[in-house]
Amino acid sequence: MPQPVTPRIARLRQESFDTQPSLNIERARIETQFYKENEGKYSIPVLRAMNFLELCKKKTIYIGPDELIVGERGPRPKAVSTFPELTCHSVEDLHVLNTRELQRYTISQQDIDIYEREIIPFWKGKTQRERIFAQVPDSWRLPYEAGLFTEFMEQRAPGHTALDGKIYKYGMKDFKKMIAQSLSKLDFLNDPYATDKREELTAMDISCDAVIVFAERHAALAEEMASACEAQGNAVRAAELRDIAEVCRRVPANAPRTYHEAIQMYWFVHLGTITELNGWDAMNPGHFDQHLAPFYEKDMAAGILTRERAKELMSCFFIKVNNQTAPPKVGITAKESGTYNDFTNLNIGGVKPDGSDGVNPVSYIMLETIEEMHLLQPGTSIHISAVTPEHFLREGCKVIRRGYGYPSVFNPDVYVQELMRQGKSLQDAREGGCSGCIEVGAFGKEAYLLTGYLNVAKIFEVTLHNGTDPVSGKQVSISTGDPREFASFEELYDAFMKQVRYIVNQKMLVSNYIDRMFAKYAPATFLSVLMDDCIVRGRDYYDGGPRYNTNYIQCTGLGTITDSLSSIKKHIYEDGTFSMDKLLEVLAKNFAGEEKMRQYIINHTPFFGNDDEYADYIAVRVYNDLYDSIEGKPNTKGECYHLNMLSTTCHVYFGTVTGATPDGRLAGKALSDGTSPSHGADTQGPSAVVRSLGKLDQVKSGGTLLNQRFTPSLLKSEDDIANLAALIRSYFALGGHHIQFNVVDTKTLRDAQKYPDQYRDLLVRVAGYSDYFNHMDAALQEDVICRTENQSF
């Protein structure tokens, strides 16, 4: 295995790997005290910005031994802040987090007591989550509780995003000038929103000051530590600390001048956004290699940087991202998305805004860093356009072969079309890419909010029961008829789509409501500084400030629903192998005593993922109808909803609430993930899978997800690597958006279940991210193991 670039990096990496995540109450205490003293004195945006300033002034500053890139959200690595203004953990939550086996967050009894005494009483009834749940109608609550969909924004702030290149050209002082200019142009005579804009712009200005203060405190600490080092005779570290101090005085107040300053610039900005709020998909530098390349080239030419030093700084950055464990949810269900991972996804390669090849020397440094770091975070992806050099793709495939689940592979030639179809300009689309898992957006210019997952298989189950959830017996949706009385497959399909449209509408009406709650009560005033055109418009990131404003609904279980419809169409309506009555009876008892029928379905039904026209036609039809149900519905910002086909780990949770399905899947088992075929349904190898997927017009989505599992034996030689690269190129030529690989055999995974201690660093691809196999619960482990294994062709 490749070793870290320097002994320093080896030490820092090991420390980051070994540190147990803990919950830290410092942020909650500072914020609660601030709110006690100031709530009501200022407009909400100004209050939020002043709260952010207060946090930056008071939080504990951390500079660790050996560090070159500095700054932590908490007082030390992996000490995770809480955000009680959004969701306030109960004492019970804290106890569970402290003691649960998986994804544990330690917290002392003393801190739990403080939380109980100071934090919880103050926020009771005032959190975003409580405000939201106080308002939702039964028509939403019933299907929500039955697991027909989830709602992202009830736990965390709506998805943060990725940045473009502006922070490498402008510092906070420059942004303050732009804000001042925007303020000076306000027309209080004719613009009814001028006052609101003034408050928002004032808040943005304060937010800029906050990150400057934050950086200056690091500079002061570094100087203090440098003096101490000198006193101890450690001149080398003293000099490093003086350099760090100089960098922290320069950025983020001013634009960076060097490669080192550019990375530190991004890092302070990153910390600012995840300190002010707790956004999904944390934060992401976007095309980091393209942003850093000019600094790298200039510093190398000037002789002030070596390639090794550049990689060391990149490694420091990776470790910093790994130190920022995701804040845990409240109401503790690890089921929906149980992971420490906070989904920072570095985009490597791809195209430049002018459409030319974006691969540069920093791209290769990043690939090597992925191999050498072998850490949970950051997530990484390579972006392979038709103009991308074959060498870069193959080097990327060699990292994939390592089996960490990183990097995933994206197709800019398709996602640029996706973004343009949604209305982005060509240049903005090319500057875009993927943040988080597989969802795409225009970096630095778009708020693209994932609003939650739709359990399409469960909606079908409810259709089969005329609007009733067979698990609870409750009527959770509209009546669309008893399927036993349907004369044709078309009647059944129509009823299913009526249910889909109804449920989608229920979900949207609450998502829209929550959207406005964030715009009103939890504006992201610092993130707004970074996002075109919030400053010009004088509006917040959550309030239509960005140039583009998108809402996504992520549909889950395309494979399961396709195979279920295929089974019914063939066996009931065409061959008459069994009746609807019989099917419903068998599903109700979860195929108990009916193994023969289940085997017949599994072995004699055309399934999605085999390049079989019968099944693939159904998949395309469902996909297009999901698109029609979601696409173009207005959001609260004068723009609209789009379809997304991501499942993260939600297909496992959705599986637990969904009974047996007509494709032979047993009750409680995971649904198919993303746009992947159902587990084990694809028997014709990866070329058949990608041909099936290629039949979906993926440009209509904002992202699809394809998991493939290869055994290491299939990726041994240079020829194997070349073939993997060709498979990727072929899928992308067929219109694929994304593909990712787990390269690990079943035996290894079974072994890891038995001997977890020997496999502490076994990273596997889960959904749009990788996770440690031994951090996953048993159901999710099984899900990964059950993905069809491609071997020995």
């Binding site: 023969k596 017949y600 072995n603 070329s687 058949a688 030689s717 070349a722 073939n723 072929s730």
Partner: protein, 281 residues
């Protein structure tokens, strides 16, 4: 015109260059004792029984009605296909051929044992610009071979046993015709690879290895020998015998995988003479 084919394999990456589509012809004139695809030997469709899939439901009425098996424990091995039916499957893979430098590999069984349909398929592929490989034992009529050669882009030639007596013993025929055909292929200048099933106790002794090396040198002087593949023995084929005849009693396995040292030794010997030699594939 129809051919009996028992399997199609997509994303086949060890039977020639690039991503390939493999077509397995049913029927073989040879009966190698170590055959890893025993179901490919008979020229007629057969029904295989895969015991671990059987749920014991009795639907097949003692295996009389295999199509009724819900679990596909009874599997039809071999069906008759027209040229167009096969070409339709091949054409689905063109995007992968184009980007990987791959193509179709006709394998078996022995593809040249069904020469007419093989020739038609090769001509169709040639007309569509699809690269073709023929994976063969070369135990064929020289007239058939000379018809096939002009429409083939690559031959994958089995090199089994050099000693004629042992060839007769393990394979049931003498090797003279095969060796002669090898020279014909080499002289044609169509690229070819040698694939050596490396069987412990049969051809892993130094004498055999040296003889194979001599032959390889001779052939490469004549023509375009691209690679030598060493395929160490595995016993997967034995378990498949039970599928053909569940009542079969298997004799003890008299073959074994040669030691790692023997494999490495043979590989470095071939490599020392300038051959590209790979294990597997």
């Amino acid at each position: 015109m129809k051919g009996c084919i028992f399997d199609f394999k997509r994303y086949s990456v060890h039977d020639g260059p690039g991503i390939r589509f493999s077509v397995f012809f049913k029927g073989c004139p040879l009966h190698c004792a170590w055959c890893h695809n025993p179901e490919s030997q008979s020229f007629e469709p057969q029904v295989l029984f895969i015991a671990n899939k059987c749920i014991g439901c009795g639907s097949c009425e003692s295996r009389q009605f295999p199509e009724k098996c819900p679990a596909k424990a009874l599997e039809k091995c071999g069906s008759w296909y027209t040229v167009e039916q096969v070409m339709k499957r091949i054409r689905r893979e063109i995007p992968f051929f184009e980007r990987s430098g791959g193509g179709v590999t006709f394998s078996g069984g022995e593809p040249m044992a069904q020469p007419q349909i093989l020739l038609e398929l090769l001509k169709e592929c040639r007309a569509s610009g699809i690269h073709t490989a023929v994976d063969t034992s070369l135990f064929v009529n020289p007239g058939v071979l000379s018809d096939i050669i002009p429409f083939t882009d690559l031959f994958l030639l089995d090199l089994k046993v050099m000693n004629n007596e042992r060839h007769l013993k393990y394979i049931g025929v003498e090797n003279g015709l095969i060796l002669e055909n090898m020279h014909t292929v080499a002289r044609s200048q169509v690229p070819f690879a040698l694939r050596i099933p490396f069987i412990g106790g049969v051809n892993d002794n130094q004498q055999e290895i040296n003889a194979m090396l001599q032959l390889a040198l001779e052939l490469s002087n004549l023509g375009n020998l691209t690679r030598i593949h060493l395929l160490p023995y595995h016993d997967y084929g034995r378990s498949k015998l039970i599928r053909i005849n569940p009542e079969a009693v298997l004799p003890p396995d008299s073959f074994y995988k040669p030691s790692d040292e023997t494999i490495a030794g043979a590989m470095s010997l071939f490599a020392s003479q300038g051959f590209t030699v790979v294990q597997g594939g």
